[in-house]
Symmetry: C2
Subunit: 183 residues, 2 copies
DNA sequence: GCGTTGAAGTTGACAATGACAACATCAATC
DNA sequence: GATTGATGTTGTCATTGTCAACTTCAACGC
């Protein structure tokens, strides 16, 4: 029962910090509070994360993993809807992932997690034969669903109607054509 | 020269805080530092802003004003490009505006500033006759350019080519159709 | 067995911040 | 010419992220 050494504090911290993040948001996520919830002293986290940003980066990378899971085995509009659904179900996690406070070049693990998600997206578009430029289309599709998710989260799009229906409608209104050459 | 009373401290604070925001980003924006730069004591800001969030909300509202100006007299793809350009030129301001930490119902001035921008967008689409559902199309268009801006800012879209060209291409690849009724 | 060692946790500090309370200044008004 | 209320100031406090120094304990070589 001697628990001077925790065993798997790193996971425990990710768990408690993840709870705090999803409950209270990025700004209220205190390193010390996460340590408290994990039952360790306020400085224990520094054995596993070099600083607060490192913990946040780990949480964000975890988020990209969750997102990838949510998109798995989906394609086209269904994938787009799943993207938005993920954002609405994990608003604070999603915001952290795209907060911009975590520079990809400073957090390689985060960069590769995010990159993997994008790759899956491009692959899905590459499978669709009727699209001229999969890379551009994938970028456009990602932009669309990402922007939609964010604007919904921030409350900018008045969703008088049912939210799911609105999302379907917005996504459904868009077509991807071949890229135009010059003006 | 007796400057016990500043004269227009509110604007001065918005100015210095705006500088700090654009220079160093949202996280590093200290209330006390803004006061320092404005040449007043660390508590003077509280006479004009009830707390840090109130100052941030004012900065964000200012940002929506700037954005509206950048979109003025533009329409269609040109407007979309201007939107992205604004985000890239004022990354930290843009991030603040959509950070999600400012709830619109708690900051009425911000809500109306943001609403005005959206209205302008919808109006631009309403003017285009060949679009079936301007509201939905406007939401989709906003989503597209907003997501594109954010993903570019965060460095998720590898822009091997020229950035402006890439933006044009992505925006150009999208068409807005009439909304589909059910599946 | 037993001493060593190094990773994992702890205690104790420190400067900085956002916020509150009490006080000071000064322009306008009666 | 006193009052007063908005605007600034000084002083204080709890909290936070981070650094430094100390402790615990499991694994390893001998």
């Amino acid at each position: 029962m001697s628990t001077y050494h925790h065993g798997d504090l790193r996971s425990a911290l990710l768990h408690s910090a993840g709870e705090l993040l999803e409950e209270q948001g990025l700004e209220s996520l205190r390193l010390r509070e996460a340590a408290r919830r994990a039952g360790v002293s306020h400085n224990a986290p520094y054995r596993h994360f070099s600083d607060r940003d490192a913990l946040l980066a780990a949480l964000a990378a975890e988020g990209f993993g969750m997102l990838a899971g949510a998109l798995e085995n989906r394609a086209g509009r269904e994938m787009g809807e799943a993207y938005v659904r993920f954002a609405l179900e994990h608003p604070n996690r999603f915001r952290l992932m795209f907060s911009g406070r975590l520079q990809l070049d400073r957090h390689p693990a985060l960069a590769s997690a995010a990159g993997a998600t994008y790759e899956a997206l491009i692959a899905a578009f590459r499978a669709q034969r009727d699209i001229a430029d999969p890379e551009t289309a994938a970028a456009a599709a990602w932009s669309l669903v990402h922007g939609l998710a964010q604007l919904l989260l921030d409350g900018h799009l008045a969703s008088a109607k049912d939210r799911n229906a609105f999302v379907r409608e917005v996504i459904g209104t868009v077509r991807f054509a071949a890229a135009q050459r010059s003006a």
